[in-house]
Structure formats: structure tokens, C-alpha cells
Symmetry: C2
Subunit: 116 residues, 2 copies
Amino acid sequence: MTVSLSDMQALDLWRRAVLAGVRREAPDLSARQMAVLLTVYLTSPPHTVRGLAATLNVSKPAITRALDRLGQFEMVRRKVDDADHRNVLVQRTIKGSVFLREWGSIVSEAATELAS
Amino acid sequence: MTVSLSDMQALDLWRRAVLAGVRREAPDLSARQMAVLLTVYLTSPPHTVRGLAATLNVSKPAITRALDRLGQFEMVRRKVDDADHRNVLVQRTIKGSVFLREWGSIVSEAATELAS
DNA sequence: TAAGAATGATTCGGTTGCGGAACGAATTGG
DNA sequence: CCAATTCGTTCCGCAACCGAATCATTCTTA
């Protein structure tokens, strides 16, 4: 089944979800941090700093900083690659899964609230 | 017609849209700023600082700052209320409309790309 | 094994955002 | 009139973030 959304519905969906996010007392992530987190959890590993930088079209320091922040929240973990010690592999954590699960449910609830 | 989205689909939708937003060369707004912008454009006027603060569950200075920023981008305009000169009415602009129209189309395209 | 390339972390100066307190302007009520 | 209230803004100290340049470590290759 394909999901079809008019531009207006899409905007309203976005509004409801962002509003829910702003209101709630949760770690407040920047768009970049959110993009990193979602990419790590929703696309197939391995994820390296360099790879994420390329995917997001952003500098490596930006990724490093985002990982620092996400690491503080224990939403991701860094692991040096055994095969190539220069690489840092970004791994998922329980807290990260929980956070995204909640976020997914917020967004999908916002979708059901949409007027047609 | 009701829009139904599984949590997983919702997350993936969010990922695609956030990714598109991070990649593109556009003013990058914080979640709060985006929430203000969307509220002003998608809910019925009038919009005051106090009202927005209440809606977003955020302090008034926070709204003032968001309006300053959105004003720099000319996505929103301030107008003192003729009836009560203490009030500031937040008004829409062409640039704001264009920006949100584009964003709506990004999100709705992300929705159509969703695997079922 | 020595030189060079690749990778991620760190530092630097500057910008932006935050919460909270205090403020000035406008309105209302006694 | 004048005090009290309402509304938005400004100020303050602080934390996070930015891009650019540089650094340390590790791998590759000649």
C-alpha cells in the first residue's frame, strides 16, 4: 500500500509532530543530530563518521559533534573498527531505540489526527 | 480519507524529510522556530506573542527570539495591533509561504517514496 | 620500512540560542 | 489622575553550535 499525502496534509502533519516535540520535556535535538540518529537506526550498518558526513552532505567535525551529543544522551555508541582502527563504527543503543520508537508513535499519531 | 501510518513508516518518512532538509541550502530553523512558523501559517489568526508562547508551552522571550530570526529571513512580519497597542500581531509573508510550500512538497514526496 | 594517504578528533574565534529577571510602553480600573 | 495590570522586549550569563584549520593515529604502498 502506498502512502499518499497532499502538500497541505504533509505540512499539517509536520506541524503537529514538531509541536508535540517542542512541548515535551525530551532531549532537544537539532535537525542534524536527528538526521544522524535516524540514519544510524534506519539504514543498514556499518556507519562511519566519513560515511555519515557524505550522506548528510556535511563536514566531518559536524558529525563528530553530533555523535558527541547523541553519545551524552546514550542514544548511540562509538566503537573502533577491529579491521581498520582508523574507522569509528556508530552503534545503536537501547535508549536510542526507545527514543525513536516514541518519536515514531508521535508522528504516526499526528498522521491519524489529520483532517482529510 | 484517513491517513494511516505505521510507526516505522512514520519514522522513515521523518528521516527522508529531515535528510532532505539538512542537505539543502536553505535557512535552517530550529524546532521552535519551525513550530512558530507552522503555527502562524496553518492555524487561524490573530497570532500574538503571548498566544504563541502558550501554544508552544514556551516563554515569551523565546517567542520574541524566534520571531526575530524568522523576521530576518522575511518569513514573518510584526504588526502592532491597532485596537490594543500592546499587542503584536504576527503576519504571514510571501517568502514564508514559498518556504512552507516547498517544505510541504518535500514531505509529501518523502511519503510517496515510502516502502510499504 | 619509509613516505604518503586516509580517518577521525581537537582547537580556535565567532555566532546563535537559552532561561530568567528586569524593563518600558500601553491599557484598565478605582 | 494614578496605581495596578498586561504585553512584548531587552539584558545578562551561559551553553551549544558553526566552519576552517590543524593534529595524532593508522593504514597503504612503493
